[in-house]
Amino acid sequence: MDGTGHTTLAEWSVEDDAAFEAAVREFAGQQELGYIGTVPDGPGKATHVRALPRDADMVILRRPIAGG
């Protein structure tokens, strides 16, 4: 984790196929660990993604929640 509280796992761009493929593999690996992909969608909104969206600015991985 860096000083901002984020850990960058992968970076990609729409044009860079190799970087995107690497990001897809990283995303799949994190899903296997139980993380859930979330795309911030403007103020107060977020979308759950099962596959890494190529055009997303950022995907945040979160842990599952459960009733306590």
Binding site: M1, D2, G3, T4, G5, H6, G34, I36, T38, V39, P40, D41, P43, G44, K45, A46, T47, H48, V49, R50, A51, P53, R54, D55, A56, I60, R62, R63, P64, I65, A66, G67, G68
Partner: protein
């Protein structure tokens, strides 16, 4: 967006639960209200009746009055406890974890969270106050508060990370979030406020103001 879903994936773990939507909240708000009357009024009536029948029964009447006061307080305490700080503090990692949470919140909400430990989030069901292991929902009108017990499946995360993960889930699917969470209490805001730690009370006031 490819592979996108507006439904919280955690709902798969509670398939038997009815969606906790506005109608559900209204219904259970009334149920909790009726339940409070049911366990309070008989004690009050018994206390009055005993003194009326025989003033010597005053000590027993006082005990009945104490029951009428203590039982609702215990329920409210249970509700307020959903957002009390709990679990490891991770003091070394917490300042860094504040970075992620801070990025998810607006300026005012960030300040409020740092002061009170609760993150204010406006939703369609009302105003949420998300804590480390639970959330309060101030329903429109600000008079009633629903208390939910909910947390991440990784309780050893720093407190701010736990809040951030809950906030992201809430933003994905508000009704799904409320459905996955365990409903602990519903009652008047002043009952919850009295049982909140003092530092958290301004957050409840801010939620009520934000609603208005």
């Amino acid at each position: 967006m490819q592979g996108a879903s507006s439904t919280l994936p955690e709902l798969a773990s509670v398939p038997w639960r009815e969606p906790t939507d506005a109608a559900w909240l209204r219904r259970w708000g009334r149920v909790w209200h009726a339940w409070t009357l049911l366990y309070t009024v008989p004690f009050l009536a018994a206390a009055v009746g005993m003194v009326w029948l025989d003033p010597l029964a005053t000590p027993v009447a006082l005990a009945a009055l104490a029951h009428a006061w203590i039982i609702p307080e215990l329920y409210a305490f249970r509700g307020a406890s959903t957002v009390r700080p709990k679990g490891p503090r991770n003091e070394a990692a917490e300042p860094v974890a504040q970075g992620l949470l801070g990025d998810l919140l607006g300026h005012e909400e960030r300040d409020l969270q740092r002061d009170t430990g609760l993150a204010l989030e406006r939703g369609s069901l009302g105003i949420w106050l998300v804590g480390e292991g639970g959330a309060l929902l101030v329903i429109p009108g600000g008079r009633r508060v629903h208390c939910f017990c909910v947390g991440t499946t990784e309780p050893e995360l720093p407190p701010s990370d736990r809040i951030a993960h809950l906030l992201l889930a809430l933003r994905q699917d508000e009704v799904g979030f409320a459905t996955v969470a365990n409903h602990a209490f519903a009652g008047a805001h002043w009952r919850v406020r009295r049982r909140l730690p003092k530092a958290m009370r301004p957050a409840l006031e801010a939620a009520r103001s934000a609603d208005g």
